[in-house]
Point group: C2
C-alpha cells in the first residue's frame, strides 16, 4: 500500500490470546498496514505479560513503517472475565494468575498512548462490522466457533458490552433447559455444550461408543486424529456418522442464530473461528435451519454467512474500538 | 398536579390494543397528566380504527386540561407485525384486516402532529425505563406476561427495534430445542409455549389429566375458573399442584432471563403484564432460578423485579418515543 492510500489517523490493535499475542496497525478506514504475532507465555504472569503486549505493539508499528508518533490510540482485546469500562481483567480462565489486573492502564503507561480495553470476541465482531463480512450493515452478530463458542453483538454501530461486561456470551444461552448437556462453564444446556469444536468431538466419541456402524471416525479415534476438522473432512467425503454430526452441529447453531434473530434481529449473522473453514455445505445447513425455525421476515432476509477477517478480526476490531473511543470521526 | 409542576413540552401517547385504545398526555419528565381508554372495535377495520385512535388522543388532551397547541408530538404503540421505521402495520394477528396499513402517517394526517410508531411491548419497556421500575438505569429488559410472552429491550437508552422490527420477541427464543412444546406462533420450544398464562393453564390441564392427586385445580377446571390467576391464588393457599405449576413457570422465566443476561447483560430485568400481580413469592422464585443458572457476576448484581407502570406503560412509553424522535432534549 502506498503512503498516499493510507488514511490518517492510525490505530494500533493488540489481540491477547492464551497462546499468542497478535498485533497490527490499522488506518482510519480499517486497512491493515502490518500484522505480527508473538508468544504470550501466559504462565509468566501479568507483569511479564504486559511487557509482551507492548513488545507486540512495537513490532507491529515497526513493521508498518510508521513511527510511534503516528499512532493516535491503542485498542486491546483480551479474553474474559473483565471489567471493560474499568480496563481490568477479573478472572480470565485462559490467563491464570492475571486476576484483577488493570491491564489497560498498565499497557497505556508503557506505550504512552490513550488505550481502550475490549473483550476479544466483541472486538472481532466489531472488526467484521467495520471492514469484514459485515461492512456497511448497521447491526451484526458474530459467533466464534472454537474450543468454546464466543461472540459479539454490534447494534446500531455500538458493541453491546453489557452492564457487567457479559454482553454477547452467545455460547452460554440456554437452548435445552431439560436434560441439557453440561457446559465447560458448569451450566447446563448451553449452546457451547452442543456446538463447540470440543462438543462436536465429544458427541462423536459418544456416538462411536453407542453404535457399531461403519465409519471412518473410528479410525480417527484410534489414531488420535478425531478433531472437528477431521469430522468435517469425513463428512464432506460422505461418511454417514460424520455427516450426521455436522448436520446436528449446524442445527444447534441455527437454534442459536434464531434466538438472536428473535431478540436482536440484526442485519447479518456471521460464523467465525476454526469451524468457519468448514465450507459452503456447513453454512448452507445453518441457513436451512434458520429458514425453517425463524419468523418469516427475518428468515427470508437476515444474511447468514462466514466471517472473512479470520485471525485478523481481533486486532483490527480492537484498533476500531480505539478509533471509536479516541478518534475524531470527522478527520480521516 | 399544578401547572407549575408540569414540564414543557408535552407529548401524547396512544396504545392500540386488540380490545382497548389507551391514551394519555405526558410531560417532558414522563409524568402523566391524563389517561383515557375507549374500545378499539378492531373488527371495524383500519379506517374506522385510525379515527378511534385520533378520538382517544383528543379525549386524552381534553382530560389533561391542555390544548392541542401544547402537544409537541404523538407516539403510537401497536401490536406486531410491523415496519417500525416505515410506520406500517404488516400482519398484526390481533387486528384482522389491518394488514399493510400505513397507520402512522394516517394518524399524523388526522392529528396534524409529528407522529412516531413503535411496537407496543417496546414502548412499554421504554416507559418502564423512562419513569417506571427501570428509572435511572442504562439498560433494561422487560418481559410482558399475558396470553403470550412479549417484551422489549432498551440498551444504552435506545430501543432495540431490530432490522425487520422483530427486536425483543423474547417469547420466541428457543429454550427447549428437543421435544419442545409447540408455540402459538407454530414454532417449537419457545419460552411463550412454557411461560405464558395460556401455557400455564394448558400445563395445569395436562397435569390434571395425568394424575388423580387431590387439588383445588380440579374444581376450577370443572367450574370453568381455571386461569393463571386462580392457579396462582391456589398456589399461595398451599395447593401442591398449583405450587408446582407456579414454580415451573418461574423456572422457565428464569431460563429466559438468564439467556438475556448472557446476551444483553442489562442492569435490570422486569416482568410486567397480568402475571406481574402474582406477588412477592413468584418473583422470588424467578430470582432463585436466575441466581442458580446465571454467571456469578450478573447473577449477584442484575436487578430482577416487577414492572410498576401497569397498563399505563404503553402510552407513557409511546409518548417517550415521540419525545426521543422529535423532542429537543435540552429544553424542558
Amino acid at each position: 500500500m502506498s503512503a498516499t492510500e493510507r488514511r490518517l489517523p492510525f490505530y494500533l490493535g493488540i489481540d491477547l490470546g492464551g497462546t499468542n499475542v497478535k498485533s497490527g496497525v490499522v488506518d482510519d478506514e480499517g486497512r491493515s498496514l502490518s500484522s505480527v504475532s508473538i508468544e504470550t507465555h501466559a504462565a509468566r504472569g501479568p507483569e511479564a505479560g504486559v511487557a509482551t503486549l507492548a513488545e507486540a505493539g512495537r513490532l507491529a508499528v515497526e513493521a508498518s513503517g510508521l513511527s510511534w508518533d503516528d499512532i493516535a490510540a491503542v485498542g486491546l482485546g483480551t479474553p474474559g472475565t473483565m471489567d471493560i469500562a474499568g480496563g481490568m481483567l477479573l478472572e480470565p480462565p485462559n490467563l491464570p494468575g492475571w486476576n484483577n489486573f488493570p491491564v489497560r492502564d498498565r499497557l497505556a503507561a508503557l506505550l504512552k498512548k490513550p488505550t481502550v480495553l475490549q473483550n476479544d470476541a466483541n472486538a472481532a465482531a466489531y472488526g467484521e462490522f467495520w471492514v469484514g463480512a459485515g461492512k456497511g450493515v448497521s447491526s451484526l452478530v458474530l459467533f466464534t466457533l472454537g474450543t468454546g463458542v464466543g461472540g459479539g453483538i454490534v447494534e446500531q454501530g455500538k458493541i453491546i458490552e453489557g452492564r457487567h461486561s457479559h454482553g454477547a456470551e452467545v455460547g452460554h444461552m440456554i437452548i435445552q433447559m431439560e436434560n441439557g448437556r453440561q457446559c465447560g462453564c458448569g451450566g447446563y444446556g448451553h449452546l457451547e455444550a452442543y456446538a463447540s469444536a470440543t462438543a462436536l468431538v465429544k458427541r462423536a466419541v459418544e456416538a462411536l461408543e453407542r453404535a457399531d456402524e461403519e465409519t471412518a471416525l473410528r479410525r480417527h479415534l484410534a489414531a488420535g486424529t478425531l478433531t472437528a476438522r477431521s469430522i468435517n473432512e469425513e463428512s464432506l467425503a460422505g461418511d454417514p456418522l460424520a455427516s450426521r454430526l455436522m448436520r446436528e452441529t449446524a442445527h444447534y447453531l441455527a437454534v442459536g442464530a434464531v434466538c438472536l434473530m428473535h431478540l436482536i434481529d440484526p442485519d447479518i449473522i456471521l460464523f467465525g473461528g476454526g469451524m468457519s473453514s468448514a465450507g459452503p455445505e456447513f453454512i448452507g445447513l445453518i441457513r436451512e435451519g434458520v429458514r425453517r425455525m425463524a419468523f418469516p421476515l427475518p428468515a427470508a432476509k437476515t444474511i447468514i454467512d462466514y466471517a472473512t477477517l479470520g485471525g485478523d478480526a481481533g486486532y483490527i476490531g480492537a484498533a476500531g474500538c480505539a478509533r471509536m473511543a479516541f478518534g475524531e470521526r470527522s478527520t480521516g
